[in-house]
């Protein structure tokens, strides 16, 4: 798991719902290569043309509210998002992202401190975010041990896989 992440910020507002992150009309798709093509299409139809792997998404409060569709996080993972920073996250979206190994960080003040295209650097070890353009510095909420364990394993699938293997070999 990388502890220093730097990328361009793509900024969204409060209550960015899962229909905007991944429109319902594409829910029948099940291949990641197809799914990622529609990331954030409901909020910005040209998003995937502009976004590069490692870039950062910044949002307001209740990021990812709405449905439990895992497509929303599969799409962000497929695009290779460096991290998603927000004032707060909706709970199912948060679980889905961590389970897939997508880094989500709660960062109070982010909405006001970052503008579209700013270069943002994140240091997970000391829980800090730096806006490289304005020089502003913010704190992120530290990740819980349980969440860190999942992220270090690259998501919950490898973690459960190991648990199942341990159970079998007992």
């Amino acid at each position: 798991m990388k502890t220093i992440i730097q990328g361009r910020a793509f900024v969204f507002g409060d209550n960015l719902d899962t229909d905007q992150i991944y429109p319902g009309k594409y829910l029948e798709l099940s291949d990641t290569r197809d799914i990622k093509k529609h990331a954030l299409e409901g909020a910005d139809p040209d998003f995937i043309k502009k976004f590069k792997p490692g870039d950062i998404i910044a949002g307001g409060s209740n990021f990812g509210c709405g449905s439990s569709r895992e497509h929303a996080t599969i799409a962000l993972k497929g695009l290779g998002s460096g991290a998603v920073l927000a004032e707060s996250f909706a709970r199912i979206f948060y679980r889905n992202a961590i389970n897939l190994g997508v880094l989500l960080l709660v960062c109070p003040g982010i909405r006001k401190s970052v503008s579209q295209g700013d270069i943002v650097k994140i240091n997970i070890e000391i829980s800090r975010v730096y806006n490289q353009i304005t020089g502003e510095e913010l704190e992120i909420q530290p990740l819980s041990d349980y969440v860190l364990d999942i992220l270090r394993m690259g998501g919950i699938k490898p973690l459960v896989k190991r648990q199942l293997q341990e159970m079998e070999s007992r």
């Binding site: 319902g24 099940s30 709405g66 199912i92 896989k161």
Partner: protein
């Protein structure tokens, strides 16, 4: 040790905490603690073939408890594209291979209603589904919460899921309901007051004399909508209404868990609902709520009655009362999707389906239908729909430039009649 010290340490437990503790095999749990819970019932709907992919990616071979697992085809029932048909096919064969008997195919309805109809929901259980509105089952004193596909795959593989013990907010409702006002109006009002992110990660309990009088159907609508304020789960203490309802559905015994006296809520909120009239959630967020009176005259193109929020037999009956012997406005469509086959049969027996069809309603297969904007009532650019559903995000029911007003089933039927938003209390006498 003096008892007040025990209190300050928070030894008093809420029913929700006791449910989690029991499922985790512990005596006590405390707020914020992560517990690994045995899941009584896990539900996968037809949007989630990913749950099956994740299951195999984890190296799992056999489902941990096939009798505690159900698959319900509702969002795409019946399939209207090849992709959807392939998803159904994959799930059918997974159920067959894994010995999962509780497969509800395209004739059954919306998962939350189907599980209740078939007696799968009971007080004190842990119910996890791949659907955000699993909070609905708080109406029965169950711990219901939604997860994504991979969490569900974890349950399929292990029978368990980690959950964080939530803070609990109690919302007390008192006063007298005005005519033409329903649980949907009250919960819209509450969400409008508190905001879409008020209860993120928290549990919301409803209590008070208004809730006590409400039917199971109204309680389900109330709990269903707590998802729109971010809640992890909802809860209503089971009472005679719950037990009378469930005793007709379930033939096994269940116990009722109670909250300790003097339990300390994270917050207690009080609403006097006496002066609340019909409410609408206006485009494009659920917490953008206005009194319907301010929107009278807004032209609509479609009215949609259905979903796990407002598609039950009582809801269809209210619409039938409004439209009996009349006809909907010639300029609009009125789409009705009963929440389940059972609901459809009940509405047929009551004669409500006949009244509504005669009045110009288009009935579609029980299921999610237009609620999710995938089929059966999609909106074109610039169109306006009033719906008894729970979400009005941009593009939720079709084109991103369409608009959705969320209201009670009565407000939906009244608008269908007039072709514009009108006050239902003027028609239901």
């Amino acid at each position: 040790m003096p008892t007040d010290q025990l209190d300050s340490k928070g030894d008093k437990m809420h029913a929700i905490e006791k449910i989690l503790a029991r499922a985790a095999g512990q005596d006590l749990v405390s707020t914020g603690q992560i517990v690994n819970c045995r899941v009584d019932l896990a539900e996968v709907n037809d949007l989630y073939p990913q749950a099956i992919f994740s299951f195999y990616e984890m190296g799992a071979k056999k489902v941990h408890s096939p009798d505690s697992l159900t698959f319900i085809f509702d969002h795409y029932a019946p399939a209207s594209s090849i992709h959807q048909a392939e998803n159904h096919k994959l799930m059918r064969s997974f159920c067959h291979d894994q010995g999962i008997k509780l497969l509800f195919d395209v004739d059954c309805g919306v998962c939350h209603q189907v599980m209740v109809d078939h007696g799968l929901v009971f007080p004190g259980m842990i119910l996890i589904a791949t659907d955000s509105h699993t909070t609905t089952h708080g109406a029965f004193g169950a711990f219901g919460t939604g997860v994504g596909a991979t969490d569900l795959a974890v349950i399929m593989a292990t029978g368990h899921l980690w959950l964080k013990v939530p803070q609990i907010i109690q919302i007390n409702l008192s006063g007298r309901l005005s005519p033409g006002v329903y649980a949907k109006d009250i919960i819209l009002h509450i969400i409008g007051e508190l905001g879409a992110d008020y209860a993120i990660y928290k549990a919301v309990e409803f209590a008070g004399p208004v809730v006590d009088k409400w039917s199971v159907s109204e309680r389900m609508a109330l709990c269903n909508m707590t998802t729109e304020m971010g809640a992890k789960t909802a809860y209503i203490q089971p009472d005679k209404v719950t037990i009378d309802f469930l005793s007709k559905k379930i033939n096994k015994s269940f116990d009722i868990i109670e909250t300790d006296m003097d339990f300390k809520y994270a917050e207690e909120l009080f609403f006097d609902i006496s002066r609340i009239g019909p409410q609408l959630g206006i485009p494009h967020s659920v917490d953008n709520v206005r009194p319907l009176a301010q929107l009278v005259g807004t032209k609509i193109h479609q009215a949609f009655l259905g979903s796990c929020t407002g598609g039950r037999a009582e809801d269809i009956a209210v619409a039938a009362r409004i439209l009996e012997g009349k006809h909907i406005s010639p300029d609009i469509r009125f789409v009705v999707a009963p929440a389940s086959k059972q609901v459809f049969l009940d509405a047929l027996r009551h004669g409500d389906v006949e009244k509504l069809v005669a009045a110009g309603a288009s009935f579609v297969t029980p299921g999610c239908a237009a609620c999710l904007g995938t089929h059966q009532g999609i909106l074109a650019a610039g169109e306006v729909c009033i719906a008894s559903t729970n979400r009005n995000f941009p593009g939720r029911m079709g084109h991103v430039k369409s608009s959705i007003y969320l209201g009670s089933p009565a407000s939906v039927a009244a608008a269908a009649l007039a072709g514009q938003i009108i006050d239902p209390s003027e028609i239901i006498k």
